[in-house]
Symmetry: C2
Subunit: 326 residues, 2 copies
């Protein structure tokens, strides 16, 4: 046995994905389970342990396991806990890091999902060599990871970087969080759908999107319509990018980053979101920051970024591995 | 000679202040010069050197000089340069750190003025023992220093923390920077005056402020009127605090700090600005951050915070001095 491997885990509301990752960031094997199928915190933890063991068994003859890195929503990075939420199969607070560490007797690390994606981007993606950048994941919500001086930041309570809920419009759309006008009510898969419905209400142009219900329409439908020339869909992307660029200007004034990366389902629309976002950033950005920062697409698939970033938490504990940003 | 001293310098558009600071943060002597009296970069640097030398001469029989720490607007912390601006007596970029270091042959450090105030607050003021906080100076503009994990952050180009120009209203007031709706067009000494003028235009209540011209009215006049019960002045403070709390909610979502400190002339209004700001923060803050962070007044006079913070840059280089946040 002369090779080592790490298990990276990406916890999601729908499915929890696991991957065997080697020191070069190659994925040697994958597995997953239905997050919702195992109700209750201890069932959920047992599902992680079983799936991880079965996955490692596929390479255990030739590899040793160094540890487990986990990226998850709703976690407290400081205490290593995960708090149950509407989209999780449990409602209590679970000391996930400790439970996994005790089960495997191996180093276990826990970070917010958007932070694991940011670490993956830095270690293996478009942020290689950067030490100050922001990664935004545009999916069901808007997740964010802030890297400052080569490290993700946690804040005092492990709550830093909740950029989905910064305010795009004080009197704007209602958000699940209880506030109004949060950025993710505009810039996310449901957010752009809300914009499409607003446009269909205000305008008279025909659109293929007028045949879909609110519940059935997906961001992929809107992307396909925009690519096929649908005016409502194209305008929805322009508005979404415009709001995104406007709020990224604020982020830049906080942190002076080198770049902002977009990942997640909505980022797969590529230039449809990227071009209006960069145009709006340029328009809204203070003159001293002009031409110093751009919005870019993540160079990794979102899923792989999160898995690789979670694994990198363990690889970066190894003294023999040179870190991208020491 | 058995005692050491550091010179802290606070460069301002009107006057440049210097202080002799000992290891305990005591100010042993002060001096200053009229920033505008010495036109041109080399004249300005010569004024710093002469004033510093004369100040140190008052204690040189009993103290040795360890170095010079400088807080200044418009500086590039990475390269140690200061760039001339409208309110400075020169227009070129001056390599201030290197010139002072060469002149005195002593360690010289240069930080943005709001960062020196933040460092002073952390070393000797209300942020003692904190490692994650934000300091906002409400004066002619709105300056900001962000402390993360015990250190001020500079960003990639030394431009981080320009929170005076984050957007409070995309279609709002015109700002000197060329954008519209920047926070400092509302929350600063000129900002609250603009609000008073808007209120005097929209409402009919009598006010002592109706006897002053735009050019003659000061923030201190507005504070005095509010304390005397003037309805227009009180409403101006309520609006100013409301906008401040709204944008601080965004800052909290970026960084999850322990506290936000207010310094500068407008902060001397005390509860007049603090109470509506905290009320607005509570109203606009996502539920998971509630009761975890408050806005507080700086525990140091703004001038002293900047001088002490600038001096702390040098004291923190000394191995014998224990840092607040190692």
């Amino acid at each position: 046995m002369d090779a080592s491997v790490v298990i990276g885990i990406d916890v999601g509301g729908t499915s929890t994905k696991l991957a065997l990752v080697d020191a070069e960031g190659r994925i040697l094997g994958r597995s997953s389970f239905d997050t919702q199928a195992r109700r209750g915190g201890s069932n959920f933890v047992a599902a992680i342990c079983e799936t991880a063991e079965a996955l490692f068994a596929t390479v255990s003859a030739t590899h040793s396991l160094l540890g487990i890195g986990i990226g998850t929503p709703s976690c407290d990075e400081v205490n290593g806990t995960i708090t149950g939420a509407a989209n999780m199969p449990f409602s209590e607070t679970v000391p996930l890091r400790q439970l996994i560490e005790d089960h495997f007797n191996l180093p276990t690390q826990l970070v917010k999902d958007a932070n694991s994606s940011a670490l993956g981007e830095m270690q293996y993606g478009g942020a290689k060599g950067m030490s100050n950048f922001i990664l935004l994941t545009l999916g069901t919500g808007l997740g964010s990871g802030l890297v400052i001086n080569g490290r993700t930041i946690s804040g005092v309570h492990g709550l830093a970087s909740e950029l989905g809920h910064i305010s795009a419009d004080r009197n704007g759309r209602y958000c699940n969080c209880g506030q109004r006008g949060c950025l993710e009510t505009y810039v996310s898969a449901p957010g752009i759908k809300r914009t499409v419905f607003e446009l269909m209400a205000n305008h008279t142009q025909p659109s293929v999107l007028r045949d879909a219900s609110f519940n059935s329409m997906t961001a992929a439908d809107i992307t396909a319509a925009a690519k096929a020339g649908d005016a409502i869909a194209q305008e929805a992307f322009r508005i979404t990018g415009d709001i995104l660029g406007y709020k990224i200007a604020d982020m830049v004034l906080h942190l002076d980053p080198q770049a902002i990366f977009l990942a997640g389902g909505l980022a797969q629309a590529g230039d449809l979101i990227l071009m209006p976002a960069n145009e709006s950033l340029k328009k809204n950005l203070m003159v001293m920051f002009q031409n110093k920062v751009t919005i870019q697409l993540s160079a990794l698939g979102s899923e792989d970024a999160a898995l690789l970033g979670a694994a990198s938490l363990i690889w970066n504990l190894q003294p023999s591995v040179s870190k991208t940003n020491p």
